[in-house]
């Protein structure tokens, strides 16, 4: 009921779950992964989902992306129930090497989602624009597997952006990258989101990353998991890797998130 009231306050949510239950069948039989998850993501909002590993962050994202069926409750996108990937919602996966088509050049990878329903001219323009947003024009004709991990992940992000999504779902997109690359991609993502106004749901296991990037941090807790903490991050934008992370309110938020993840705070 609490979720209902927030929705009514601010119009139709871009993404919404109510009393969501998800069951995955493993070797040991069916296990409830998520139970009683209530979540509403407003248009243009940047929401990070955190939680201990195995808590069902990725599962929740797959539900929102229409890649995972649900056992109970509701999952809606722009007010309609999710069954299969909803229009305008694109998922970016963590394993970029499996997600890119190794036989296509970077440019043709980026074109994959739009080449069949755009004119040649429009497709070319959208691909160029997407490549420019992630700064990859110079590698456009290279094969993705010849690029570094960070560049490959940028190819995947560009491919999603070329679709002009209203919602971007990102599953630990920077999880496999080194700290330097990660920081630069975080800032690139910030700029892209600012320019496009895309709604982003961002799964990560990195507390600093979540607080730094988000308008709101959601922590999954319990087994089966539900929303343990939903924390607004009022740090203003644009944010900066150095100055934002030195602000007392940033540190305070970071503290709260760590505590919600079950870290003991020494006195």
């Amino acid at each position: 009921m609490a979720a209902m009231s927030t929705v009514q306050k601010s119009g139709v949510a871009a993404l919404e779950c109510q009393d969501l239950r998800v069951t995955l069948v493993g070797a040991a039989g069916a296990v409830d992964i998520l139970r009683g998850v209530d979540l509403a993501v407003q248009p243009g909002e940047f929401v990070s989902i955190l939680g201990p590993s195995g808590s069902g962050k990725t599962t929740l994202l797959r539900v929102l992306g229409g890649l995972q069926s649900i056992a109970g409750g509701e999952a809606r996108c722009n007010g309609t129930a999710v069954s299969g990937p909803p229009d305008g919602v694109v998922t970016v996966f963590q394993d970029y090497s499996n997600s890119l088509l190794p036989w296509r050049s970077v440019r043709r990878n980026v074109a994959l989602g739009i080449e069949s329903n755009c004119s040649k001219q429009e497709c070319r323009e959208r691909v160029e624009a997407a490549l420019a947003m992630v700064n990859l024009q110079a590698s456009a004709d290279e094969y993705p597997w010849r690029l570094s991990g960070g560049m490959q992940q940028r190819v995947q992000i560009a491919r999603a952006l070329a679709m002009r999504p209203s919602v971007l779902l990102m599953d630990e997109p920077f999880g496999a990258l080194d700290a330097m690359t990660k920081a630069s991609l975080q800032d690139q993502l910030q700029r892209v989101q600012e320019a496009t106004g895309t709604t982003v749901v961002f799964v990560t296991h990195d507390v600093e990353e979540a607080v730094y990037l988000s308008d709101r941090v959601v922590v999954l807790a319990g087994k089966p998991a539900s929303v343990g903490l939903s924390l607004d991050v009022d740090l203003g934008r644009p944010r900066d890797q150095i100055t934002t992370k030195e602000r007392p309110d940033y540190l305070q938020l970071r503290h709260q998130v760590y505590a919600a993840l079950g870290h003991e705070v020494p006195r």
């Binding site: 694109v90 997600s99 036989w103 994959l112 989602g113 491919r159 679709m163």
Partner: protein, 259 residues
């Protein structure tokens, strides 16, 4: 281009081969190796040259290669189509699996007399034999290749709305291409062998028949010349296929580390 080609030539390997032929020549000439019908390589070379200038060898080789390539191409088309159906349509797989297992475990050579009986001593018979030989590796490799497509790639297709025929054409088949090419290469080698058998058993034309008649008319030089021709044409066919594939499916093969 030519330099890259030169670098790929295995000079030491070729020298070994040359050394083997020199040794053979030496052993036959000095009489250490004494068989009534073992010719020296030089004799084989002269016989080969005569066969080429008389037009006999080109005609026979042409006949054999035409039948091989025709049957093999047909097998590629049918194998990929059937393999795709079997890999992607569950009922097709369930209904056909037992028959396929039974048919492919039948030694292909055993099929040759059947083909001769049904189709007579014709080129069609040879093409059918080549087809039958090549269709199994193509079919089975297509199935294996399509089954091995990473599930993430299919999810990417769903997310980007690449579905139905486009999913097959843009994701599944390109991902399976290295497997399919392996099947085609195996198929090509097997069809050439089976065509030779068919020509030896029945059809009075082609390299297989020429081999048998050279043997029966006690012309070992001619026989060896044909053997060398066949082995060279096997190498050339395979090289042509590999070269063609690396041009047409450049991305797929490069990604699979074939280049």
């Amino acid at each position: 281009m030519t330099r890259a080609l030169l670098r790929r030539v295995n000079v030491l390997g070729l020298l070994t081969l040359l050394g083997f032929f020199l040794l053979w020549e030496l052993l036959v000439r000095t009489g250490i190796l004494r068989f009534e019908y073992l010719p020296a390589p030089s004799g084989v070379l002269t016989a080969g040259a005569d066969l080429v200038s008389s037009g006999e060898l080109p005609t026979n080789l042409g006949h054999t290669l035409e039948a091989t390539v025709a049957g093999w191409l047909l097998a590629t088309v049918v194998g990929v189509l059937l393999g795709t159906l079997m890999a992607l349509v569950r009922p097709v797989w369930v209904y056909s699996m037992a028959s396929i297992d039974a048919l492919r475990s039948l030694p292909i050579v055993a099929f040759v007399p059947v083909a001769v009986l049904l189709l007579g001593f014709t080129t069609q018979m040879e093409i059918v034999v080549a087809f039958y030989a090549a269709v199994w590796p193509v079919l089975l490799n297509t199935v294996a290749g399509l089954r091995a497509v990473h599930p993430r790639l299919i999810e990417v297709g769903r997310v980007l709305r690449v579905d139905g025929v486009r999913e097959l054409w843009k994701l599944r088949l390109p991902a399976a291409t290295p497997y399919i090419v392996t099947g085609m290469r195996l198929g090509l080698a097997v069809s050439l062998v089976l065509i030779l058998v068919a020509e030896m058993v029945g059809n009075p034309s082609g390299v297989g028949f020429a081999l048998i008649s050279a043997s029966q008319s006690l012309q070992p030089e001619v026989m060896f010349a044909y053997i060398v021709t066949v082995s060279l044409s096997g190498i050339v066919l395979n090289a042509l296929l590999v070269g063609l594939v690396s041009i047409v499916f450049r991305g797929q093969m490069a990604a699979a580390g074939e280049k």
